[in-house]
Structure formats: structure tokens, C-alpha cells
Amino acid sequence: MSDLDRRKFLKLAGLIGITAAMPFSFARAADKPLVVGFVYVGARDDFGYNQAHAQAARIIRSMPNVKVIEEENVPETSAVQQAMEAMIRQDGAELIFATSFGYFDPHVLRVAQRYPDVRFAHCGGLWDESKHPKNVGSFFGYIDEGQYLNGVVAGHMSKTKRIGFIAAKPVAQVLRNINAFTLGARSVDPEITTTVIFTGDWSLPVREAEAANGLIDQGCDVLTCHVDGPKVIVETAERRGVMSCGYHASQAALAPNGYLTGAEWNWETPYRAHVEAAQKGETMNNFLRGGLAEGFVKASDYGPNVSAEAREQADAVKASMIAGEFTLFKGPLKDNKGNVVLAEGEALGQTDVVLEQMNYLVEGVRGDI
């Protein structure tokens, strides 16, 4: 062994290394797991938006031949481009779920152009065939159906006929939820009004608490919201003895007395569809939508204090939504400035993209965009 000099040693070691790596690399090529990346805008356990996504991601993790990587607290800035590039380059991600609304334009679009072989599934964006890349798809649920049901229950339970809605930003999805909720409440009693407070961003706990207190002082006895983490609002409502409807995930544990019901996401359905399509090598579904019937959204169980007639009506509406017989936005419909937005006889189906460009608040909402 005396003639084993450094050069020979290196050759030998390299050879052993390559042989050792070979069966492994062949195995990977034959049965390579699909690497799926998830990017969240906040913490994964925020009792809200991000928790709903992370719960579904946990289910995806248990699917065969899938490897899940996650990154949380990624702001809606160029930081998300870096996060996605790192997932692609370092971890070999082939499918990325960008879960926050503000990631879409320009961040997801820009990275998708750079990596045409990677699939990008974005939550909530409005994919446009004429100008957006084919490896980008948007998925979303018609959660306004859940909000309408919230409104029906709240309409039955409210005694002061005033309901408070704490919203983050006046973007189309938020406006659609406020409007659906208000329509639901006013289907019970047309005298009900919804007061809206916009806080200005998705997660501002102090301002959300301040808004909740302000609304309760104004006589609102049911609160609901569209912010990323409804925890603070539901807790504040419970502490002050008023009722609340939840959003994103179930907040029932936070308000055992006042929690009425809630509109929850069920992201497992669209996630599974995208992952399976990627595994089979099918073309990307660029525009994936669904509501209660398709299992994209669900309603929380009713709280203990919800009256029998509220349950009855909400159940009836839910059944007709699932059967596909219910039209949420139909004429005659006025906005809160008195303009007619849908004339008598006009109706918009849930799949109509016009609804995803909503820019008005319906009659009965107190607030400005």
C-alpha cells in the first residue's frame, strides 16, 4: 500500500463516492418525490388565514411521494420573489403555493416567467389568459357563501339591528364578503345595517381591538371581520359580551358564549387538485374555483346560543347553495350611494368574474371604500 499517493487516493475515493451515489440517484429519478413549496404571509398558527392554509398543507404532506417545504412571515414585497427562488433553486420545488393575495402581481408573475417549468398556484389572484404565463394558476373559494350564511345567523340573533364588520383593505374580495354578509343579514330583516371599519392592513391587532370597541360602543351586537387573524376581534367581542361570527378558520374555542358560526376555508380540495395534476404531468388548471358545493369552503358548527329558527333558515339556504339553486348577487341591487348595480331580473352566478372585480358596497352598509 506504499504506492498510494494523494492522487491515487483521490481517484479511488472519488470512484467509491460516485458508485455509492449511483443507485440512490437512479432511485430518485425513477420515483422522485414532488417538492411542493408553501409561502405564507404570517404565522402558520394565527387562528386565521394562514392557519387555514397551513392545516391543508399538513394534509398535503401526508400524500404519497410529496415533499412539503414551507416559509412563513414572507411580506408582500420582493422578499417573496427571493423566497420562491430559494425554494426552486435550493430545494428543487416544482409546485409553489403562494398563499397571500398581494404576492400575485408582480411577484408571482415575474418569477413564473423566469422559471417556466415550475408551477405557481396563487390564492385569490385573477388569472388573465391574454397576458399571464401558462405556468401560473389561481385558485380561490367562494367564501362569500359562508359569509351570507353568517349574515343570516347574525340577522336572526342581533337585537340592536346593527352589525359591525372590521375589514383590512377595500379590495374586491373583502367588499364581496361585506356585501354577502349584509345581504344575508338583510334577508332576515331589511332594517339591519352593517357598519364597516377598514383598518388599513391585514394584521394590526391594536387597531382591530380599537375598532371592535368602537363598534360595540356604537351599539353593534354582532361583530365579524375580514382580517388575517380574527383572534383579537373575537376575543374582544367575547370579553364585552357581544356575539361574533368567525372567518378563515374556526374561532369557536376563543368565544364559547358569543361565537355564532363562521365562514371557513377548506384549502385541501384545491391543493390536492394541483398536486395531483403536477404528479400526473397534466396541464396546469389556471383558474380553479369552488364554493360550498365543491368543498372549497365550509361553515363552522353553530354556537350554543344560536336560536332554532336561525339554524333552520341557515340550513335551508346552505342546502340550496349546495344544490346549486341559490343566486347570491341578483337584481334589484343598489349600492350604498343609491346607484343601481344590478337591475331587476339581472343575476350574477358565483363563477362570474365580474364579481371578483367588485368595487361597491351594497345598500345597508355604512362606510366608504
Partner: protein, 306 residues
């Protein structure tokens, strides 16, 4: 309707000033003390967040909110002590280290606080001073947390202490002219380390107010820059503890004005109202900071002035 709305608005503003202003009060008192000794601790934002997390975690684990407050103060004390000691080393810039401490504090809190986002910790009790009124709005506005009263008492105590006690005078002397203090036989570094540590303690307590009372939960978006704004607030208050109290109330009210206006139906231009605390901070800076003159009341040893 108009009269009723005005009353609601003013009540919301008043209640908001107290509710939103209390963490400002604690952090600014802490910073006031630190700056009086001649140091600036920009890391208070990090200490605030670390205190909020520690307070929530300890309150949840021990079942007692007040233990949580003390633990939050303890965490703040340790981080303050770190700032005090490191900045006593030669050629260490207190502003640069403060920024490092801010990142360290928030990073540690996010990392260690992961497990405490979901559980619900016991909350600090509040005192209802509004039992005499049968108006629900008044009662809720006068539901004031104990920490606020402690903060007010502390502001008065510090105001008196800095003028009329031996330690107060030593602290001010060290902050104004450390060579004189040395000549008189005091040890400026030791005084500064102590002042920074106590300042950290107060900022930690301010953090526990956020997580244990208002808004009353721990999550990573809890603080919206209260710790940083408190630094501006101390300048606004001219390094006077009693002025810190008023300034905190003004900043608290500025934070509450957006939701308060919208709840009474004035909802156009809410983005502008939401920016009110930050605009106020900028206005204070513009009005008070000029390169060509020293601020009245500023401690002479402050690295801002040298």
C-alpha cells in the same frame, strides 16, 4: 344623531388614548430614564416584543398574569443590562448596538414564541370606574387597567425623583457631564448600566401590557413600532417624565382616531387617519431636530448632541 355620535367619538378617543397609550407610557418612561443617563437605547422595540412574548408565555405557564408582567420586566431587564454593559466597552456605538438589540429581541421573541400563539393566557384585570353610569360606552371607556395607574404613579414618582433625590441628581449629572460626576467620585458607567437596565425593565412591562391586556394576545404582528415611536416621544416630551405621560396619551389618541372616526360614520380618507401616529412622529422630529442647535433639556452626554 349628531350629538350622540360626537359623544361616542370623544369617548372612543379618550378610552383609546388610555388603552393604546399605556405601552407608550412605559416604554417612554424607560427611555427617558436611559437617556437621562446619557445613553440612547434604540433597542426598546425589540425589548417590547420580547417582553410581550415572555409575559404571555409565563402568564400561560404559571396561570397568573401578574407573574407574567414581572417575567416580562425581567426579560427586559436582562436585555437592557446587555445593552448597558456592551455599550460600556470602548468604541461601541450605542445607536448601532441598539439597532442590533432590536433585531435580536424581535428575532428571539418570534423564535421562542412559536408555541404560544395558540394557547390563551390569563388576562390582566381592569378596574371599572364607570359603575355610576348606565351608559355602556362610558362604562367600557372607564374600564382601565391597573398598569395604567401604575404608569401614572411612576411618571409622577420619576418626575419628583429626578429633581429632588440624590440618585436622581446623580443620574442627571452623569447624563449631563460625566467628567464632573467622576470628579465627585461617582462611577458614570455603573450608573448608566443601571439606568439602561431599569429602562429595559419598563419597556418589558410595556410589552406585557400589549400581550396580556390590550389587544391581549401574542402574535408576531403584535407591535406596530410602539418601541421606536417611544424614542421620538421622549424627545417630544423634552426628557420630562410627566410630559411623557401627556405625550403618550396624545400618541395613543392618534392611534385610536382612525377606528373612532369610522365607527361614527366618518369613513372617507381613513388611510390618512391610520397614518396619524407616524405623521405625528415625523412632525415632532421636524419641529424639534435641527442640526444647528441643541435641544432644550437634552442631556449633554447624549450621543445625539455630541
Amino acid at each position: 344623531m349628531g350629538d350622540l355620535d360626537l359623544v361616542t367619538f370623544l369617548l372612543a378617543l379618550l378610552a383609546g388614548a388610555v388603552r393604546v397609550g399605556t405601552p407608550f407610557l412605559f416604554v417612554s418612561l424607560g427611555e427617558c430614564l436611559t437617556e437621562k443617563s446619557g445613553r440612547i437605547n434604540l433597542g426598546l422595540e425589540g425589548i417590547l416584543v420580547a417582553g410581550a412574548m415572555t409575559g404571555y408565555a409565563v402568564a400561560y405557564l404559571s396561570g397568573s398574569a401578574w407573574t407574567g408582567v414581572l417575567a416580562a420586566g425581567g426579560a427586559g431587564l436582562l436585555l437592557g443590562l446587555l445593552h448597558g454593559i456592551v455599550c460600556s466597552l470602548p468604541r461601541v456605538n450605542d445607536i448601532a448596538f441598539g439597532i442590533a438589540l432590536m433585531l435580536l429581541g424581535t428575532g428571539l421573541a418570534f423564535f421562542l414564541g412559536k408555541a404560544f400563539i395558540q394557547p390563551q393566557a390569563p388576562m390582566l384585570p381592569s378596574i371599572s370606574l364607570g359603575a355610576w353610569s348606565d351608559d355602556g360606552r362610558v362604562r367600557s371607556a372607564l374600564n382601565i387597567n391597573m398598569l395604567f395607574f401604575i404608569g401614572v404613579a411612576l411618571a409622577i414618582f420619576l418626575h419628583w425623583g429626578l429633581r429632588s433625590t440624590r440618585w436622581g441628581l446623580v443620574l442627571r449629572l452623569v447624563g449631563d457631564h460625566s467628567e464632573s460626576a467622576q470628579a465627585l467620585g461617582y462611577r458614570p458607567l455603573r450608573v448608566r448600566v443601571m439606568a439602561t437596565a431599569v429602562g429595559g425593565f419598563l419597556a418589558g412591562v410595556g410589552g406585557s401590557y400589549l400581550s396580556l391586556y390590550y389587544p391581549g394576545s401574542w402574535n408576531e404582528g403584535l407591535s406596530s413600532g410602539q418601541g421606536l415611536m417611544a424614542v421620538a416621544l421622549v424627545i417630544f416630551a423634552r426628557w420630562q417624565p410627566l410630559n411623557c405621560l401627556w405625550a403618550s396619551m396624545v400618541f395613543g389618541a392618534a392611534g385610536a382616531i382612525g377606528p373612532a372616526l369610522q365607527s361614527v360614520g366618518i369613513s372617507s380618507g381613513y388611510y390618512l387617519y391610520s397614518a396619524a401616529p407616524y405623521i405625528l412622529t415625523m412632525a415632532v422630529m421636524l419641529a424639534t431636530c435641527r442640526p444647528n442647535r441643541t435641544l432644550t433639556g437634552a442631556p449633554g452626554e447624549l450621543s445625539l448632541n455630541r
